[in-house]
């Protein structure tokens, strides 16, 4: 029998096949899944330990860059943040081996970058065309052949593009919902899409070529839960293209406007006709593509309010007292939160049609607390004794 701990501790160095194998086992075996979560929790704990000294590791990078003569490329915001934490970093460098090790690694990373840069530039210069004495001007005949070759190339590229688009669209399946309907669709790669009323989703079925089965076209509204993969996942609407880097996000696409709200992971968003002009969203942000304009700058939003239409509660580091108020309104119950739990933060996604008690018990478990049912429509969080 395989010892899955070996796979778990090597997870971040594994290839996609090994990870898929582990994911498949985790889906079936709660013990392996729990062990994986413990390992990730341990790594998270170590990361939190670092962040207790310096709020982000980027500031350690900024510190090293400043010390090693690259301070001029720091932005004003980075310099200001660095000024605040510099004494803490310098103190930690004297007393914390983990911080020293991270700084050492950053320096090694920087040294390798310099080497690769120089190697690439040198190789390019060596293969750069050498000046040769001109043998004479090209004749008109030469130019005719050059234009013909270029025309053949362009035509070939166009035909190839048409062929690939045909291949992509030839086996598309389309799922549509009417008023009052919603559906959950599982895509070939295991990603799921929750499609809401009056919407349609076109996607590649399981038997289409692998390079196309991470693509979907949306009209209307949907919530995507995308599994990480080797190939990016793309969602196209009438106005926008969302490039997904592995995550949960919501898209509301009307004729002239596409709005994207990110719950977890990261996505980049661009106008369909200007793919080079992109914005990248962080969790808890929204961007909108309207008409012919590029995406708006990402703005922070209240996730649970913004995503109410998804029939999901999406909480991202929200204090329990705020969550309790939201759940109270939705379920029409009273939920009491003692002061010592009020500011405890919860991250998670819950279906709105789950029973309130089930949702509350799950949240309580994450906080090491309990829930008491105090009568017909009354609940109370309590700390464990």
């Amino acid at each position: 029998m395989k010892d899955w701990i070996d796979y778990i501790i090597s997870y971040d160095e594994s290839g996609s096949d090994a990870r898929r194998e582990l994911h498949a086992v985790m889906d079936k075996d709660p013990a392996v899944r729990a062990t994986f979560a413990q390992w990730m929790s341990l790594r998270a704990g170590l990361d939190a330990h670092v962040r207790s000294t310096v709020s982000t590791r980027e500031l350690l990078v900024a510190y090293v860059m400043e010390q090693d003569g690259f301070g001029d490329v720091l932005s004003p915001r980075e310099r200001k943040q660095l000024d605040v934490v510099r004494p803490d970093i310098e103190r930690a460098l004297k007393s914390e081996t983990l911080i020293r090790t991270i700084v050492q690694r950053i320096r090694e990373d920087a040294a390798v970058f310099e080497d690769v840069w120089e190697e690439t530039i040198e190789r390019a210069e060596e293969s750069a065309p050498v000046d040769r004495p001109r043998m004479g001007l090209l004749t008109a005949g030469h130019y005719r052949w050059i234009w013909r070759a270029a025309a053949v190339f362009i035509l070939g590229a166009f035909l190839m593009m048409v062929f690939l688009l045909y291949q992509r669209d030839a086996h598309v399946e389309t799922f549509m919902t009417d008023a009052g309907e919603s559906a959950v669709i599982e895509l070939a790669d295991g990603s799921t899409v929750r499609l809401y009323e009056n919407s349609s989703l076109s996607y590649q079925p399981a038997d289409s070529p692998a390079r196309f089965n991470r693509f979907a076209r949306l009209e209307g509204r949907a919530f995507f839960d995308v599994v990480p993969g080797e190939v990016h996942f793309y969602v196209e609407t009438e106005t926008a293209v969302v490039t997904v880097l592995g995550t949960q996000f919501a898209v509301a696409a009307e004729e002239e406007e596409t709005s994207v709200v990110l719950a977890r992971g990261s996505v980049s968003l661009a106008h369909r006709t200007q793919p080079g002009v992109q914005v990248m969203l962080q969790p808890g942000q929204r961007s909108i593509v309207r008409g012919t304009h590029p995406p708006t700058a990402p703005e922070n939003v209240e996730l649970s309010e913004e995503l109410l239409w998804t029939d999901l509660f999406v909480f991202r580091s929200e204090p329990l007292e705020r969550i309790a108020r939201r759940l109270s309104r939705h379920y029409d119950v009273v939920i009491e939160v003692p002061p010592q739990l009020a500011q405890e933060r919860v991250t998670g996604t819950f279906e709105q049609n789950r029973a309130v008690e089930e949702t509350l018990r799950t949240i309580a478990a994450t906080l090491g607390a309990t829930v008491r049912h105090d009568g017909a429509r009354r609940y109370r969080f309590e700390t464990r004794q």
């Binding site: 160095e13 899944r33 990730m40 670092v50 390019a124 992971g265 992109q278 991250t347 994450t366």
Partner: protein, 193 residues
């Protein structure tokens, strides 16, 4: 292939002023360099495309911040180093629904940050210095192969140390009261799907 004159300050200035062709040229020339760098640095093939994409996005989004166009290389270096730190923290590799590096649970089961750090610190103190060193090297971004080279041992021996340290930490943290959240994290993931 990248040529020195394609990172020329003049091209950077044109890209900063909105010239798309110059911007595309800069990013297009940077891409193969980043690929070579990340492959050399991480050996991670499945994350390479994302590392490159995110670094290019950082460079693209931060172009206007470059004060001195002659320092494009250093600016690209900064972006690449930032992205590597995200990789080392596990942002790229963990399955999202089990682990959110943006808001990680502290030593699980503990609600108070300071108490959580103390518990983890106590747990780490129980490890041998070598085991602790290996975990710290891992957390800093070193691969097992690199750790083995640093410590003049084999990769198998390093992994065995990590496995034993993890099992010990699991036991200690369970006794202290940690990892209670782990079960709840599992419940959350199941409940949310």
């Amino acid at each position: 292939m990248a040529y020195k004159n394609e990172f020329d300050p003049e091209i950077v200035v044109r890209a900063q002023s909105g010239d798309e062709r110059s911007r595309d040229m800069l990013l297009g020339r940077l891409q193969p360099l980043l690929r070579a760098y990340f492959i050399k640095r991480t050996g991670h093939r499945s994350e390479i495309d994302d590392l490159i994409q995110n670094t290019l996005l950082r460079v693209h989004n931060g172009l206007s911040e470059i004060q001195n166009p002659a320092r494009f290389k250093a600016f690209a270096l900064k972006a690449a180093l930032f992205e590597l730190q995200d990789l080392y923290r596990g942002r790229y590799s963990a399955k999202e629904y089990l682990y959110d590096p943006e808001d990680p649970p502290l030593v699980p089961g503990q609600r108070d940050g300071a108490a959580a750090r103390i518990d983890l610190e106590r747990a780490l103190d129980a490890l041998t210095p070598k085991a602790r060193k290996i975990l710290e090297l891992k957390e800093s971004g070193y691969r097992y192969e690199e750790i083995a080279e640093k410590l003049d041992t084999t990769e198998a021996a390093v992994k065995m140390q990590v496995k034993r340290a993890f099992e010990k930490l699991r036991d200690i943290l369970t006794i202290i009261g940690g990892f209670a959240l782990t079960q709840a994290v599992t419940l959350l993931a199941v409940g949310a799907t």
